[in-house]
């Protein structure tokens, strides 16, 4: 279960908006994450708290394959991203670094900035704390939940490669 405050954004939030290409020679995630959403919502980098959840419209994360985009969000300890739809590489990258991504168009219509929500990834539902509204979604395939629960592809592979060596 993930519980947090909602930050809400629109459609087509691209990877340059999440983290601009001009900063990508910086490999330290902490320094890099200071520039998160800089051209979109400069308040976010200062105001975001661990566990907060991003709710967005269609095609979240479109644009480049830069893994720094989900990585800076993870660095800020975002609990999950819930969007009406995701661009495919962003979706893969997020799962691979252990950042939950949930496809749920209804959430975009029903949730507002500042709502406190609880997210059950396995159960496939979101609960709005203020009035108990329950929003359902199709859970991720088991295989992807497995990667997420292990904390991403690195620990997942580590376990797998370890097994091969044994």
């Amino acid at each position: 279960m993930i519980k947090g405050r909602v930050w809400k954004y629109g459609d087509h939030i691209n990877t340059d908006l999440i983290i601009s290409g001009r900063y990508l020679d910086e490999y330290d995630m902490k320094s890099l994450s200071a520039h998160i959403f800089e051209d979109l919502d400069p308040i976010f980098a200062i105001g975001v708290k661990p566990g907060d959840i991003i709710v967005a419209g269609r095609n979240f994360g479109c644009g480049s394959s830069r893994e720094q985009a989900p990585a800076v969000l993870k660095e800020k300890r975002i609990g999950a991203i819930i969007a009406a739809s995701f661009a495919r590489i962003f979706f893969r990258n997020a799962i691979n670094i252990g950042l939950p991504v949930i496809v749920c168009p209804d959430a975009f219509c029903l949730l507002e900035k500042g709502n406190i929500i609880t997210l059950d990834i396995r159960g496939g539902f979101i609960l709005r704390e203020s009035d108990g509204l329950r929003i359902g979604f199709n859970p991720l395939p088991e295989f992807l939940i497995d990667i997420l629960e292990r904390g991403g592809l690195v620990p997942y592979m580590k376990a797998k490669l370890g097994r091969c060596d044994a």
Binding site: D16, Y27, S65, N96, M157
Partner: protein
């Protein structure tokens, strides 16, 4: 079966259907500057060695030669890794953009399953390969095992018919398609470009379609190989290959575009699907004109621009930047006198690479400035200031606009 089904069935060893998630063996793995991130994840996974050094290609193109101390240091880490792992297919700062260099050096062949840590890896679809972009962490898993999970995509078959009018080129065609279908019009899908117009296109023009299919969310953008493709490949690779194509009876969604009367197209800020005919916004002043990138930095693009300029000087108010996509392109353009002609017209020629396309260095835009560019993305802040504007167009339109100092329909010069 579709092309995507056939390739992924072969790569995972069983027949697959759209929607299936499969573990597939890849034939080629490409990464550029972000190899530094791949190495980090690879080490964290505890992998001993790469699965097959012959199937890995690494090169530098985004920040070349190194633009900052940080880049220089990460280049150095990668050079050391490449030496240690015995990765022979490594191209240092001088060769050019990955999506141009890999085909030129014979790494890309029809029927291959290729992954690259760059979203425009779809470009290799122009050679009939299943090629798609992935992230750095999953590339580390590919290096370790040679395998990766894929969701078998549905297919969108785009038929392009008719003869492109004079001064209209592949970029106008694909901008029109993206403008019509939208920035997520093909999200997660395998796009197939077919039709008599595609059949007549050069390989360079087909690469424009495959490259930009990514901007409508496509997982791959494929053109089935023909005699042109085979001729282009002669002398580049000694490896045998197998041409794979969709069955005519395969289950696909279909779209059709007739380009016989298509006017030159332009994507306005700040999204690639914000497309209108150039004539609609003609007269908008510009500060910079950029000819280059993995979309339109090839010889035919430089020639098209030089033809429009025809020895005339570009406007004093415009910085006209030209970046050949690769050394091979650069050299041929030098030998053919195309670069001489462009420089005489006032062009600033940069070394092959991504250059200003991603705003990392070279040709960065200040607040309030406007650039017309042959690149593939016009997102806010992409080339520098978030308050700059980027317009995407064909080489012909970019050259005509550089000439006039304002957005200009190439048919009017």
């Amino acid at each position: 079966m579709t092309f995507a089904q056939k390739i992924l069935s072969r790569a995972c060893g069983r027949p697959v259907d759209p929607g299936d998630i499969v573990n597939a063996r890849v034939n080629l793995a490409m990464s550029h500057e972000n190899t530094a991130l791949v190495i980090k994840a690879f080490r964290e996974m505890g992998a001993a060695k790469v699965w097959d050094p012959e199937k890995i290609v690494i090169l530098f193109d985004h920040r070349v030669p190194a633009n900052t101390l940080k880049t220089a240091e990460s280049h150095k880490i990668v050079r050391e890794f490449v030496r240690k792992e015995g990765i022979r297919h490594f191209y240092d700062v001088k060769e050019g953009i990955c999506h141009q260099v890999l085909p030129e050096k014979g790494h890309v062949l029809p029927g291959m399953l290729i992954v690259g840590t760059d979203s425009h890896t779809t470009t290799y679809g122009a050679f009939g390969a299943f090629a798609t972009g992935i992230g750095a962490t999953e590339m580390a898993a590919v290096w370790a095992t040679g395998e990766l999970w894929f969701r078998v995509p549905e297919t969108l078959r785009i038929r392009i018919t008719g003869q492109m009018p004079d001064r209209v080129s592949a970029k106008d065609v694909i901008l029109n398609i993206i403008g019509t279908l939208g920035a997520e019009g093909a999200n997660y899908m395998a796009v197939e470009f077919v039709g008599d117009c595609v059949d007549r296109m050069s390989i360079a023009s087909r690469m424009v379609l495959s490259n930009m299919s990514m901007e409508m969310g496509a997982k791959i953008g494929v053109v089935f190989p023909d005699k042109n493709t085979e001729e282009w490949l002669i002398g580049r690779s000694h490896q045998s290959f197998e041409i794979v194509r969709s069955d005519d009876s395969a289950d696909v969604q279909a779209e059709e575009f007739d380009v016989s009367d298509l006017p030159p197209q332009i994507a306005k800020p700040h999204s690639v699907d914000n497309v209108v005919p150039v004539e609609e916004i003609a007269g908008t002043p510009i500060d910079q004109a950029l000819l280059g990138s993995c979309t339109n930095g090839r010889l035919e693009d430089l020639i098209a621009a030089a033809k429009i300029l025809n020895g005339r000087k570009v406007s004093e108010s415009v910085r006209f930047i030209v970046v050949p996509a690769s050394r091979e392109v650069y050299l041929s353009a030098v030998k053919k006198g195309v670069l001489t002609s462009l420089v005489e017209s006032g062009a600033i020629v940069l070394n092959p690479g991504c250059g200003p396309c991603l705003g990392a260095h070279q040709g960065v835009l200040a607040a309030g400035e406007r650039c017309i560019s042959t690149t593939n993305r016009n997102f806010r802040g992409r080339m520098g200031s978030p308050d700059a504007e980027i317009y995407l167009a064909s080489p012909e339109t970019v050259a005509a606009s550089a000439l006039k100092g304002e957005i200009t329909d190439p048919r009017t010069v």
